[in-house]
């Protein structure tokens, strides 16, 4: 509807330039896939593409390694964290934005200081704390710290959304005899669904890829998540880059595919969030 006055030639040029920049930007991803598809003879060729393609690396690494186990570990840790963050942060945001509980804003400001804490300064005390809890090499040892680190950002987003929701709806719920829990469950949560989806997706991405704490807490193979296994494979397949990059592709693929599927909802949440101001 807009930009009718732009000459078509101009738009074509912009598209071509964007595609060129994108092609350049995608080189590392393409390179990863390309090495994974090479025969051992071509594996060390200093080129982006090499022919012919072979899937034998993928078949070998899938057959020889317990990738589904690492995948499942990542999935359990990530889904638990997302569920915990969405539940806990929406409760907190509701208490601040709708119930206006006395003191809730002071707690909110305190909680926000978490956003200024780099994980690098927390790994040592967390490692010692989790050791005391006996949570080393357990899912809980990752899920709870991740949730604690994730909740504040989620609260910021959800609180802003709830504050912008029509107050009359909450008022009507109260008049109809809903208690706070019913208002939260039947009114607030459905109202901020796009925000919940956005927060959930972002938490999923950051938890799935978290490396620092996972590296310290997970030492046994049975509990390791996908992000920390590439290191051990880089030693194992040092002489066989084809196999190494096949496995790297397989490790990176689930989240990339997931993002492609959910990106529309993610961007919608981001756009809706920005309208808030």
């Amino acid at each position: 509807m807009r930009r009718r006055h732009h000459p078509t030639a101009n738009r074509v040029i912009i598209h071509v330039v964007l595609l060129l920049v994108l092609a350049l930007w995608m080189i590392p991803e393409v390179y990863m896939l390309s090495i994974g598809l090479r025969t051992p003879e071509q594996a060390f060729d200093a080129t982006l593409f090499a022919w012919p393609l072979t899937f034998s690396n993928f078949i070998t690494v899938i057959r020889d390694n317990p990738l589904p186990m690492f995948f499942l570990n990542s999935l359990i840790v990530t889904l638990s964290t997302v569920a915990l963050v969405v539940a806990i942060s929406s409760l907190f945001a509701f208490a601040c934005a709708v119930l206006n509980l006395r003191g809730s804003l002071t707690l909110y400001a305190t909680l926000l200081t978490t956003l200024m804490v780099p994980l690098a300064s927390l790994v040592l005390p967390l490692a010692i704390l989790l050791k005391t809890f006996g949570w080393v090499n357990t899912y809980a040892g990752l899920v709870f710290p991740y949730a604690a680190l994730g909740v504040p950002f989620a609260v910021v987003v959800l609180k802003a959304f709830m504050e912008d929701s029509p107050k009359e709806l909450f008022e009507a719920a109260r008049v109809d005899g809903c208690n706070a829990w019913q208002t939260y469950w039947h009114v607030a949560l459905p109202l901020v669904r796009p925000a919940l989806v956005f927060v959930g997706i972002w938490q999923f991405i950051s938890t799935w890829n978290e490396f620092f704490l996972a590296l310290i807490i997970l030492t046994r193979d049975e509990v390791k998540t996908l992000t920390i296994v590439p290191m051990q494979y880089s030693g194992l397949y040092m002489a066989n880059p084809g196999a190494l990059f096949a496995i790297l592709t397989l490790i990176a693929l689930p989240l990339i595919l997931l993002y492609v599927v959910v990106q529309r909802a993610f961007v919608r949440g981001l756009l809706a969030g920005a309208v808030k101001g």
Partner: protein
């Protein structure tokens, strides 16, 4: 803080609080519990631990600020500070400029391809950082890596891997960080540009502002909330840099690419010096707090595109 909550109470209609009995404080409980156990307690712990030193007989003695002084006297600490400065000063603006430029062209000049570009440029953000690091080690590799091969066409000769050379290692890692996170800046700016009020843009266009001039004098100033949140996120992100460095150089060669993440990791977990590890943790924490507070005081709080509300709260 009390002033903020005080004002909010006045605004809050009384009846909202009435339909909330004391039990509604349970809504706040889980978040507060997580915060106390996994954020506040660890911070208190590192603070207190940083004043003690563990002796050979596993007894702790109070040493006051001695560990701090010894960390500050460590040349590696100052390499870390220099690297972190370089990291923040290069990655944050470069990611903003490239990401913002891409976002501008995607939002203002594409329609059918918009979703495709938005998604593709964001893919590095969702690609596991441990995978990315190993891919870039291969790219940088001498003899069989593609970087030395393709850069030689432009007359740039790389005799060895840039991550193996102390003078270039940190810059080689910064390139990887920029490559991974530019998509994030891009998407934040996309959200900002997509939400610019059309009336203002139309008014500017009527006044004759077109193309670059429109971008420079209207769009960029209006996107300052996004820029501020990217700055804040960039500072914290810089201080928690870890996986790229740990996986590509482990802080080497000879500490040349050491960052706070690897410094804490090496001291605490490789060398097992808890007191010193705690002290470095406290220093990182203090730096993060100071830098964040300075930014919030100067620019206002902007932690997400949706948080413009915070400024008025």
């Amino acid at each position: 803080m009390s002033a903020i909550s005080g004002r909010a109470f006045e605004q809050a209609p009384k009846h909202y609080r009435r339909f909330a009995g004391p039990w509604t404080y349970l809504f706040l409980l889980p978040a507060v519990a997580l915060f106390v156990v996994f954020i506040a307690y660890p911070i208190v712990w590192v603070l207190s631990e940083s004043f003690f030193s563990e002796g050979n007989d596993r007894t702790s003695t109070f040493v006051g600020l001695d560990t701090y002084l010894s960390v500050l006297a460590d040349p590696v600490f100052w390499i870390v500070v220099r690297n972190m400065l370089l990291w923040g000063l290069i990655t944050v603006p470069v990611q903003m400029i490239i990401g913002g430029t891409i976002a501008y062209f995607i939002e203002r000049h594409t329609d059918a391809w918009r979703g495709f570009f938005r998604t593709m440029f964001f893919l590095p953000v969702v690609t596991s950082v441990s995978v990315i690091s190993l891919v870039w080690v291969q790219i940088y590799a001498p003899y069989y890596g593609i970087a030395q091969q393709y850069l030689s066409y432009f007359g740039i000769e790389m005799a060895s891997s840039p991550i193996g050379d102390p003078s270039t290692a940190i810059f080689a890692l910064i390139v990887v960080n920029i490559w991974q996170w530019t998509g994030f800046s891009m998407l934040m700016y996309v959200a900002g540009i997509a939400n610019l009020p059309t009336e203002v843009l139309d008014a500017a266009r009527v006044d004759g502002a077109r193309g670059l001039r429109l971008a420079w004098s209207v769009i960029i100033p209006m996107l300052s909330p996004v820029t501020k949140s990217l700055l804040l996120l960039g500072v914290i992100g810089t201080l928690q840099t870890f996986p790229i460095v740990q996986l590509m150089t482990t802080g080497g060669p000879n500490h040349a690419s050491e960052v706070f993440g690897t410094y804490v990791f090496r001291t605490s977990f490789v060398l097992g010096d808890t007191g010193r590890g705690a002290t470095i943790s406290v220093i990182v924490l203090l730096l993060a707090l100071i830098l964040s507070v300075v930014q919030i005081v100067y620019f206002g709080a902007n932690l997400s595109p949706s948080s413009r509300k915070e400024e008025s709260a």
